[in-house]
């Protein structure tokens, strides 16, 4: 097998490189900047150009990091590697690996629905397709993110009319930038948690600019009126939230599809907005890949494997990795 799962992560023995390894290795290819995929401690990183600022901001400026553009090929000991848009977060890539006519695609995390900002997922044909299965049940059916963003703006305006602030919880990498891009026509009165602002600053070196003002220790939280505050889920319930006066909280996550989850979290509003695939997107991606062999990782892997075998008669199997399927606290 060209790709195996070793105790360090996905491994290509022919090229002696790892993809998204969870233990420190000499050479790591990184699909995207989320912390369960981009771990510290590797001696060499290879990633898409827009992932590099994230790695430097999170892992330290001293890391050795080489970059590629989408669709650009790189040969390592005869193995051809190329990165293709995954639609997940800014800079996210599926990694295509070809050796002696055998083609593998490691999707990392990906999403098919356009969010109006993140480069669109590009299907890549292959023989072996590795996919995650976070939302691989038919109860997960996501609306177009742009429609969700419109609902979010409406809700913010409603809260403004009630003299309330609006706190929106979402990953600081990916969802935050997509939302802020959508809000570019409403640039006033938007505030950012440090985690979000740090990433936005990092992206600015690649020419990306986003609306919103960083909340620092000098920011007068008490004086905010009808503001929109963007923060990572980890900020919820912390003292940091206390000084915003009267506010309503929304969570942006695919998990919000289930009513019980939103109520359990104790937020007023749940926007069903994910940077992962829903059930039908996963099926579409599997079919577009034309792969005969599908390896299913983190999520509802047993159920999804059975579905792929029965429905599409594919050679599907469970592949155990150490990537998260939970709401990862990415700070």
């Amino acid at each position: 097998m060209l790709i195996t799962v070793s105790e360090n992560g996905w491994y290509c023995a022919q090229a002696d490189v790892y993809i998204d390894p969870w233990k420190p290795v000499p050479r790591a290819l990184i699909t995207h900047g989320h912390s369960d995929h981009a771990r510290p401690g590797h001696q060499y990183y290879l990633c898409h150009v827009d992932t590099k600022p994230v790695l430097k901001a999170r892992l330290g400026p001293e890391i050795v990091c080489e970059t590629v553009q989408y669709n650009e090929s790189k040969y390592i000991n005869g193995v051809q590697f190329s990165f293709h848009p995954a639609g997940h977060v800014l800079g996210s890539a599926q990694i295509r690996i070809e050796y002696k006519g055998e083609i593998w695609v490691i999707t990392g995390d990906y999403k098919l629905l356009p969010d109006g900002f993140t480069p669109l997922f590009e299907p890549v044909k292959c023989h072996h397709f590795i996919t995650e299965s976070t939302f691989a049940l038919p109860i997960y059916k996501f609306k177009a993110p742009t429609l969700i963003f419109d609902e979010l703006v409406q809700w913010w305006q409603h809260n403004q009319s009630q003299n309330l602030n609006t706190v929106v919880l979402c990953y600081s990498l990916g969802k935050a930038q997509a939302i802020l891009h959508h809000l570019r026509d409403h640039p006033n009165n938007i505030y950012l948690h440090g985690a979000v602002a740090n990433l936005n600053d990092a992206f600015s070196e690649n020419g990306y600019h986003f609306v919103g003002e960083r909340i620092s220790s000098d920011t007068n939280k008490e004086s905010m009126k009808g503001a929109l505050i963007l923060a990572p889920p980890s900020a919820f319930g912390t003292p940091w939230m206390r000084k915003f006066g009267d506010y309503e909280v929304a969570m942006c996550s695919g998990w919000m599809q289930l009513r019980g989850q939103r109520r359990r979290l104790g937020v007023e509003k749940g926007f069903v907005y994910s940077d992962h695939c829903d059930f039908s997107s996963l099926n579409e991606a599997v079919q577009l890949s034309q792969a005969e062999n599908v390896y299913v990782t983190h999520g509802y892997e047993t159920q999804y494997v059975q579905w792929l075998r029965e429905q599409y008669h594919l050679n599907a199997q469970v592949m155990k990795t150490q990537h998260d399927n939970a709401e990862q606290e990415d700070e």
């Binding site: 049940l137 038919p138 109860i139 996501f142 019980g260 989850q261 359990r264 159920q303 059975q306 579905w307």
Partner: protein
């Protein structure tokens, strides 16, 4: 339906009761009168019967969604709610809104019409609804199909909103909404008309409910100012005789007249315009029978003569709410009670109507001593009612108190856990407890409530890390965690492994200070059965 769906969403998104009342008020102000009746029916849990088995519905949902039944069941397991699972898998319109609106009555009509259709016809009708609804409307429709639609508001809040909307007194609204009414045949204006005459003659009065005594008896004043009665363990009920018709209502507002034929005789002897409040309880040889007898009785479809003989029911009467057609509720208890005693003096009534005996104690200390041993007298404690108290509406403090004996309790080990439903899906909230029989732990009770949200989260994490085996939704866990389980009574039971059944078991405390070895034993439970059981 769309306006109601919006109201449902908004109610679901807030926990603040004032906001909930405000949202309902806004809805009542803008909705059509016809829709309002159906909305009130849904909000107060007065909903049509489920039209068919859910097995069929699951198969149809899977077929409609193009997925195998096992995948539907897996999804249901994760979502934890059948109506919600169906709504999610059959939704084909997530990116579009609901095409056309329809009145709530149309949805009710369809659900009722479905009850009379053949399966194939039902399927077709349901597929049609599924194909044109989305989001919350689709969810509401499926919750009605599964007969499980509940809205996060209490009846009290609905009444509050209605009272504000109609600018009427909350008590008056409560009275008008008592009993089962049919939204198809009830007009909004009629139901809430300010005229007394408009109230249907079968309508019960709202029950006055007592709070548990939470203050020292020193604050209650002279014991002579209070009527003390045994608190009995039956079914709170209201007997109504008006227009030569007899009605027996339970506190849960179920009409039980047909189930309790013992009381038919009252039609001959009660004067018209009589309403009595009391405890309906099986009674033999001058003694109440245990509640388990009552439970078997309620569970029966047909009451056989044998049963009537073995467990005849009486009402132990403690209040007179209406006499000679006059609403007595604003009279002081002393007046109502005197009138009640006079009424019950008729020997013809005495087979089925007993007077709730007044217990006389010289001091509060004496009353307390009785309360603590009340179980020996087939009672759960004492009721304290101020002699000059009026008959209030609903749960009110001050005039009446219940003073119960402490629950029985036992320390037990958790051995199984099961995930909850709805809000508690994916969280282990239902536990099975065991006591020692030699060196084996034998399960004897299940309990759901009693822990704080924080404790539930903590326990949930522990369960996930200490699972021994999984059987479907149930996990067996290591025998480590000890809980103090409280219960109201203990009875012999052939259906339970240990031969005892507990009444109202609940978690009193998580005993993190104890180890599994410290838990109680089968012998301890059997001893309690001898002392307090039946």
């Amino acid at each position: 339906m769309n306006a109601f769906a919006q109201l449902f969403e908004a109610l679901d998104e807030t926990t603040k009761t004032n906001t909930k009342v405000q949202l309902m008020l806004e809805y009542f102000r803008s909705a059509h009168d016809e829709d309002k009746m159906f909305a009130i029916a849904i909000l107060t849990g007065n909903k049509p019967k489920r039209p068919f088995s859910t097995t069929l519905l699951r198969e149809w949902a899977a077929e409609y969604a193009g997925i195998p039944l096992w995948l539907f069941e897996e999804s249901y397991f994760v979502a934890g709610d059948l109506g919600e699972t169906i709504a999610l898998v059959v939704d084909r319109n997530v990116d579009m809104g609901n095409e056309e609106d329809q009145p709530l009555s149309a949805v009710f009509s369809l659900i009722i019409a479905l009850q009379k259709m053949e399966a194939a016809e039902q399927q077709q009708a349901i597929y049609k609804e599924w194909s044109r609804l989305t989001g919350t409307s689709l969810f509401l429709f499926n919750k009605m199909l599964t007969g499980s639609l509940r809205v996060g508001v209490s009846k009290k809040l609905v009444i509050k909103a209605l009272a504000q909307y109609l600018e009427q007194d909350e008590g008056a609204i409560t009275h008008r909404m008592m009993g089962k009414w049919n939204p198809f045949s009830t007009q909004f204006n009629e139901m809430f008309s300010a005229s007394e005459a408009a109230i249907a003659h079968h309508t019960p009065y709202p029950f006055y409910l007592a709070y548990p005594l939470d203050q020292s008896f020193d604050d209650l004043g002279h014991i002579q100012d209070w009527v003390l009665e045994k608190k009995l363990d039956g079914i709170r009920g209201q007997i109504i005789f008006r227009n030569n018709e007899l009605f027996i209502w339970s506190r849960g507002e179920d009409l039980l007249t047909d189930k309790f034929p013992e009381f038919n005789i009252l039609q001959q002897y009660l004067p018209n315009g009589t309403v009595i409040d009391g405890e309906i309880i099986p009674w033999k040889d001058g003694q109440p029978l245990p509640f388990s007898v009552m439970q078997t009785r309620i569970g029966r479809k047909n009451v056989t003569p044998k049963f009537l003989k073995e467990a005849p029911l009486v009402m132990v009467c403690y209040d007179l709410l209406e006499f000679e057609g006059k609403d007595m509720r604003t009279e002081p208890l002393s007046v109502r009670r005197a009138q009640l005693i006079e009424l019950l003096a008729n020997p013809a009534l005495q087979d089925v109507l007993l007077l709730s005996e007044e217990m006389v104690f010289p001091t509060w200390e004496d009353a307390k001593a009785f309360k603590n041993t009340a179980r020996h007298y087939n009672s759960e404690g004492l009721m304290l009612k101020k002699r000059n108290s009026i008959y209030e509406t609903g749960r009110k403090r001050g005039g009446w108190w219940k003073w119960k004996t402490d629950p029985l309790s036992i320390d037990a080990v958790m051995i199984y856990a099961q995930s909850g439903h709805g809000r508690r899906a994916n969280l282990f909230t239902d536990y099975t407890f065991a006591v020692w029989d030699g060196d084996v732990l034998v399960p004897f009770a299940k309990a759901y409530s009693g822990l704080t949200d924080k404790e539930i989260d903590q326990l949930d994490r522990w369960i996930k890390q200490h699972t021994i085996e999984k059987f479907g939704p149930v996990r067996s866990v290591q025998a480590v965690q000890v809980f103090e389980i409280g219960f109201e009574g203990i009875n012999k039971s052939t259906r339970h492994k240990l031969g005892v059944a507990l009444r109202f078991p609940r978690i009193l405390r998580w005993r993190q200070d104890k180890t599994a070895q410290d838990a109680n034993t089968k012998a301890d439970l059997l001893e309690m059965l001898v002392l307090y059981g039946s």
